[in-house]
Symmetry: C2
Subunit: 307 residues, 2 copies
Amino acid sequence: MAILAVGSVAFDAIKTPYGKVDKVLGGSATYFSLAASYFTQPRIVAVVGQDFTPEHEDLLKRRGICTKGIEHAAGQSFFWSGEYGENVNEAKTHRTDLNVFENFNPRIPEDYLGSEFLFLANIDPVLQAKVRRQITGARLVGGDTMNFWINGKQQELKETLKTIDVLLINDGEARALAGESSLPRAARQVLAMGPKALVIKHGEYGATMFFRDGMFGTDRQAFRAPALPIEDVVDPTGAGDSFAGGFMGYLASQDELNRETFKRAMFYGGVMGSFAVERFGPERLTQLTRADIDARFQRLRELTHLD
Amino acid sequence: MAILAVGSVAFDAIKTPYGKVDKVLGGSATYFSLAASYFTQPRIVAVVGQDFTPEHEDLLKRRGICTKGIEHAAGQSFFWSGEYGENVNEAKTHRTDLNVFENFNPRIPEDYLGSEFLFLANIDPVLQAKVRRQITGARLVGGDTMNFWINGKQQELKETLKTIDVLLINDGEARALAGESSLPRAARQVLAMGPKALVIKHGEYGATMFFRDGMFGTDRQAFRAPALPIEDVVDPTGAGDSFAGGFMGYLASQDELNRETFKRAMFYGGVMGSFAVERFGPERLTQLTRADIDARFQRLRELTHLD
């Protein structure tokens, strides 16, 4: 089934111990939709500037991604410049130019309104809520956020959370949102804010999914999926959005949403995140085959499963 | 088969957000042997002072632990006083009184020399090596260390590592020992120092076991075991030693040491660590049944396994 992703399509300048790139395609909707494209047909709603060329659009189209919802505005695209040191979990931001993204007001094409799956990437929670209201028949709505909104627009964010089925955030965001340092307790509090399920991403340690009792026919019992131990993390940019893309994309390819499909979705999230970090930018996510993905799924299984 | 544990038997004063205790039995050999006692017969070599009473000794004996190797010296036992805040991964030490432990010189009783399994808890690597040399017929030697020795006696530690089969340390220790921030790369470097296998403990995220190629009939492929998400970590003291006790204890109960038994040992390590933190001191580890342990093993399986 189709997934609609609303977020950023941007350019990044990235420096890591493995080298640097000056301007590669990036943004949450880019990573998400490329990762999801191996499972379903993603659609993007975003805004770009004049530096987004037909070649960039082709990179998405070649993966079967519908780009009709990408609005072209006068000016430059969202641009982020940052650096990762030895600790790949911490980015040092050099520059953030919102450019055309500053006035992003998502416009959903008519024929996207029936999307069965919706992913609200990390944008202003007011815009997330506005989009959410339009996709009335969604079977599953996923969402992301960040400390900037948790601190700056918490009330608006809490309104949005009431309309989201699965929130995907990292350890620090879960702690900040709940105001609670214990992750299992933070999870309980976030679930009380509305989401039916919560995925907390632990970076290199994997991710844990917590369910509100009885949701999706499952009990409260959590599920943990590993990340692959990777010696050479070339560029961690986009790993979280790629996780979300693998997670939501796999779910959109399934007839039923139940504990077992969510568990597998967590594994596919880990798989897509592990590919994303192997090259600069989203390059690796443009070259995969379903066989590559399933082979890595099998590696994650061997990494964690008893016979 | 019998396990010999050489380490500390001590007293702790502990404060956490859940309360405080003034003087509870603690020490690496205590937690290790209590956890291992559900799988095999542990023997302890340690030194205690006059504050270690027959009641304390009975607590160990009731779990079938042989205490003959505990030397009674004039003076007080090793005493540690510390506090954990909201972040249970960081202890703030108030006081460390080595007392009789300062001149600890492990003396191995004659009938312990044939122990098939040996655990060298976190003590001076020179003492670890001295003990190791005496247990000539050991099938498996596990060891622990800490930043104090990594920084202060690295050369001696590296000599000891050549004689250890499985090193069990945490993330920070692995990074410090290897001088490398990437855990998978640090693992490769630590394995090159001698151990056949390395278990890196990630606290609440679980633990990863790395194998040197071909060791124990296994390939280099790592294995990850989860920790249980626990809302109320009452007292994290001893969790790492309890992990080691479950890990080594289970192995000592098995006929073969291969990838599959190591994987299960990782799960049993996680199980015993999760029990240890539910009460102050080692209390919880004195009251379990094998059924409690196997039920929690099953929970860890459900937490991580696809159907």
